[in-house]
Subunit: 262 residues, 2 copies
């Protein structure tokens, strides 16, 4: 099933996407809900980020080549120690945008703004103290994120606040796919139609279940929380006017345009 | 005015506290609201954290003595560079508890769990590109936070996820005070009634207006967002059975008990 969150007649709704038709629900996929019996065309709505999470968790460096890239790029940066176990970070809610929305680069950026195409785990059930073997039971489904990163700020800031959490730097979507075979997924990042990065999505240092289990020894996951699983190298620069697409086969395509702040 | 968020008859409500009586509102202080005309006794309700923010921002090291303490304690830690300008970090929603709730130390903690008594700024209006001189216009009021920190995890983890974001490690409350003279405030942290830390609240490296202005050059603040302003040294250890109180004169007292995980 594909859950979409969308704006229609100035209202924000959830529905199930079937081909190019949406079956709206009352409520959300994260709680009690019922189909309204109505139908809406996909072309009649504007898709939104599929969830505004209570907490946006990010695995950070979780693919081997990206770790090497990050360690080389950011000798003085925060968070550049290679991970020896699943340790999670955070991104901020202000930065979230939906599919087809514009990534806006601030005027004082150096211009070193890169994509990071990521699998996003969407939590469906409250969970704590998960064992690895049961950890995926709390997952509602998966979507796609682009962990847009300004590399010059990443190298000099004390935290990731500007580099990764500037407004519009966290595109997420286009929907939540509930039927996913993690091992079958491939991630491809295209800029202006040219593939810049392509990797087996599940080729992570620490997998989804390991992360969820480790996290929930200390923290409670809530419905709607999301966990971004990290990106593989290479991450290339994006410039105003570019169109960036993150495709995960079996989920969909998250597409956004780049602009310079007016 | 003092805004309280509370549980009453299994419902979560906001109201204005006047002496020991609450005047409930329909809605929240962050949007349209109206007084219901009812009255509820403070002793009839359970106070909750005064807001569950979209994003929980944290200034981190923002007092001179605490910076020295942190640099000495955490030679290998993340985020131990002294701040040269206002740079903001994050805490996680799962960790929030309210006044009188229990701070629970996980069984595998080293036991080096410390208080950090902090002023918390509560945002009332959407804001971006604030100038320092207008920045406080977006503030609804102020509350109190205890940025509970497990120091051994803070020294070894790649992020602050366990040290500062374990469940129950972010007590906040008891209410939002809208009438505050920042320069008149004093913070006092007591453990079992004994003062451990006492400092002029506004004696920060970077003040509230400077932080809000710097942040909003890159990010949009939303109603309900909170910014924790950092704590001054010394931060002392707390043990199961202890009661920790953070008092800010002119706001109130945030009190929590410490327990070991069952």
């Amino acid at each position: 099933m594909r859950w979409v969150r969308y704006a229609f007649n100035d209202q924000v709704c959830y529905g199930a996407l079937e081909d190019d038709r949406i079956r709206p629900i009352d409520g959300t996929p994260f709680g009690n809900h019922a189909f309204t019996g109505k139908r809406v065309g996909l072309d009649e709505v504007r898709l939104l980020a599929p969830v505004i999470p209570p907490t946006l968790y990010a695995a950070g460096m979780n693919y081997q080549s990206h770790i090497k890239e990050a360690l080389a790029l950011l000798p003085n940066g925060v968070g550049v120690r290679a991970p020896s176990r699943p340790e999670v970070g955070y991104r901020a809610i202000n930065a979230i945008i939906g599919p087809e929305e514009t990534i806006v680069i601030p005027r004082d950026s150096s211009g070193r703004v890169q994509h990071e195409g990521e699998l996003v785990v969407v939590i469906g059930k409250k969970a704590k103290h998960l064992r690895v073997e049961d950890a995926l039971d709390c997952v509602l489904g998966y979507t796609i994120g682009n962990d847009v990163s300004e590399r010059s700020w990443q190298a000099v800031d004390r935290t990731l606040w500007r580099s990764k959490n500037t407004d519009t730097f966290k595109p997420m979507g286009p929907w939540i796919e509930t039927e996913v075979d993690l091992d079958a997924l491939f991630t491809r990042v295209r800029v202006n139609g040219v593939v810049q990065s392509e990797f087996r999505t599940n080729n992570m240092v620490f997998g989804v279940a390991e992360y969820l289990s480790a996290m929930t020894q200390y923290l409670t996951l809530y419905p709607g929380d999301v966990l971004w699983m990290g990106a593989e190298a290479p991450c290339s620069d994006m410039f105003p006017g570019d169109v960036v697409e993150v495709e995960i086969e079996g989920i969909g395509v998250l597409r956004n345009r780049i602009a310079l702040e007016a």
